[in-house]
Symmetry: C2
Subunit: 268 residues, 2 copies
């Protein structure tokens, strides 16, 4: 795949396919799973999209993303039912044919034989693979994903996504690993940190600084609000220095530096 | 805004702005919040995108989405810090100027006066509003969002998004209300339901049918897997009929119909 050095910026996009997510019935978690899986490999998520189970929408989004990013990861729509149209849409996007393929069929046949389950035409749908694709192993439920060009086509079920990702690292060439450090302030207002944060960001232009306020139901003796200051970059020494600067900045503004981020995964 | 009848399809897109989501540090929940808020108003989420804190990316995505959908909702990047660039990017996308505006400044001034907090230049940043926009009230933390054309610009903090959405319904004209009904099967395999589901979908073309398998850690006496069958449509009578057909279909395939969806909000 792409030749890259450890100082190159290598990017990926996620394309989530499913009316289920757009309707709000299901909360997507795959974007975050993929982002955190790729980061240590030196691949940064640059964009994510959610589109409906519609071939034109999938083709348009996939073609935009695969030309713009080094890698694209799709989730959803590769099961056995009539609304599973991702494999056909991906074949259409690449302009290749698609049919049941022997290697995929053999995997499924062995699995259903072992379970004593009938290998029905619906199940056979999951062996449809675009011409020229390589299979991605599914350690959870066998039905494979596939890679075609720089696009990795995976299932929608989060546990299956996590399983399929294990078959990805040897296929990609990462670049610069961007690490994030969080310094969490309790009882501080974002706007009171803003001037010093802006100066710090200007003074350390190789790092990227973000400020993420949070609020939550409070108790009389615990602050109800705070700010997570996040610094991202590739140089551990610079990150160490920035982390110290962020802690000083919070204390200078009258806030308390909390331990490891106490609002992980949510800014609610 | 758009003139629409109750039989028209009215669509919206969500544009989530933030390195914070793309890095995987924070789990987005705003897409789902907005989708479920709009559905009863007759507005269907047609697409969602997550882009980084980069003006070119924001402008490009916003211009694509606002021409394609009836409404666009952005979240994130309207706070007081250097990385809050959404208002400027939206102004650029619309080709209008942006400056501190008196009505927004007055709201903030009154709030900070009441709290005895200094109205600093950083806080003044939150009064920057593109020319021609209307403010969106923020009942949580006062700093307003704004509407310009068919675009609603909101904060990133989920509780503030929920608050700002309350100031939205009177500004939009919804169309057909699409309702979803879920019939949950435990101990059924998606592929065993697929043939009958496909026939049902063909027989009821005004409805949209989806099939969403799930897996979870099981106990010896409880199935570890199942399928949520979801039917969406605008006609309550047709939905009632479809719901009954889905229950029959599950029982005919040897599965059990569960009570109200017992895996809400997750397909893990």
């Amino acid at each position: 795949m792409a030749a890259s050095k450890s100082t190159d910026r290598v990017t990926a996009a996620v394309l989530v396919i499913g009316d289920e997510i757009l309707s709000g019935r299901t909360q997507d978690t795959n974007i975050r799973t993929i982002a955190t899986f790729l980061a240590p490999l030196g691949v940064q998520l640059a964009e994510a999209r959610v589109v409906s189970d519609d071939q034109d929408q999938i083709v348009m989004a996939l073609n935009a993303l695969r030309s713009r990013c080094d890698y694209v990861f799709t989730t959803g729509g590769i099961g056995p039912t009539h609304d599973d149209i991702t494999a056909d849409a991906v074949a259409a996007a690449f302009g290749v044919s698609i049919d049941v393929r022997d290697d995929a069929r053999a995997l499924l046949q062995a699995w259903y034989d072992k379970q004593g389950t009938e290998f029905t035409p619906a199940r056979m749908r999951m062996a449809r693979i675009p011409d020229g694709a390589e299979l991605i192993a599914n350690p959870v439920s066998v039905a494979p994903g596939f890679q075609i060009g720089n696009v990795f086509v995976m299932a929608g079920i989060p546990s299956v996504v996590r399983g399929m990702l294990e078959d990805v690292p040897h296929r990609i060439k990462g670049g610069m690993v961007v690490e994030a450090r969080t310094v969490s302030a309790t009882g501080a207002r974002e706007a009171d940190l803003a001037p010093a944060l802006s100066e710090l960001a200007a003074a350390m232009p190789d790092l990227s600084f973000g400020s993420y306020p949070w609020m939550r139901p409070g108790t009389p003796d615990a602050p109800r609000f705070g700010v997570n200051l996040v610094v991202r970059g590739a140089d551990p020494d610079a990150l160490d220095a920035a982390e110290q600067e962020l802690a000083d900045l919070i204390r200078n503004a009258g806030g308390d530096v909390a331990g490891p981020d106490d609002t992980p995964g949510s800014n609610a």
